[in-house]
Symmetry: C2
Subunit: 143 residues, 2 copies
Amino acid sequence: MILSTKGRYGLKAMFELGLQYGKGPIPLKVIAERQTIPENYLEQLIAILRKAGLVKSVRGAQGGYLMLRPPEEVTVGQVLLALEGPMAPAECVTDSESPKCKLASGCVTRGVWEKISHSIHDVIDTMTLQHMIEEQISTIEKE
Amino acid sequence: MILSTKGRYGLKAMFELGLQYGKGPIPLKVIAERQTIPENYLEQLIAILRKAGLVKSVRGAQGGYLMLRPPEEVTVGQVLLALEGPMAPAECVTDSESPKCKLASGCVTRGVWEKISHSIHDVIDTMTLQHMIEEQISTIEKE
DNA sequence: TTTAATCTTGACAAATTTAGTAGGGTATTC
DNA sequence: GAATACCCTACTAAATTTGTCAAGATTAAA
């Protein structure tokens, strides 16, 4: 159940944007280099994040990308939702209406999926980019 | 991040085997019908579960499959691990040795993956097939 | 105003995974 | 020996993943 590179690369990119918050745009090339992500591929990922309203772009020389909101207000869950789709083990426990599964009462696994989904969301909807940044700082200090 | 049908079908099949525990073998055909799973496909899935030591088979007429251990001793995590691989969002937080990721200290996302992984395992390593059966019974009673 | 940096879009594609289907072989029981 | 049921392998269509590549649009700065 490993996430795809979309989510993994995307969250790393958002971390870099979070570090840079308030300091003007940062070019994609720099993010790609720092996190070792193929630049052309990252382009596609950040387009998704832009459409999701998480980042905006500044064109032209000295341009780049920047976060719309401060890192305290952006959760890991928002980033992963945009890139990976709903972070739930089955469709029937997704927020979106799921009229497909009419076995609601007959389904023997639904309870399991609900519990997994809740436990994941407890983490990702609570954790923000700011938390990631702070954790990173304390890790470096210990070295 | 929806699970594949492997895990979803497989857990449903294990539930049926759990219900039947102690009552002799149950043919695959019956499981497939009850849970609406393509029989030939389920054959492949149960082969995986057999190799993982979760079920055993009895060949010939009146044969079928049965669980090796009582449903109280089989966790959802064991089933999903066999069918879906490690239930973690990234390789680096898998139990198996992961020498690939040497960025352990430099990786900015590892902390996130660890937390997600822990929260998932809190659920799936605790929940057994017996729990699923009990939950199902109480659901039916309420109707 | 030219140039260079940068974003934007869309096409292409190899590799892998998913979700099966199909069919022949083997063991057991009645 | 016929019926039942597991066992194994091969095949495949479709989707997803993980990129690459090229052309063009936009803007800042010299």
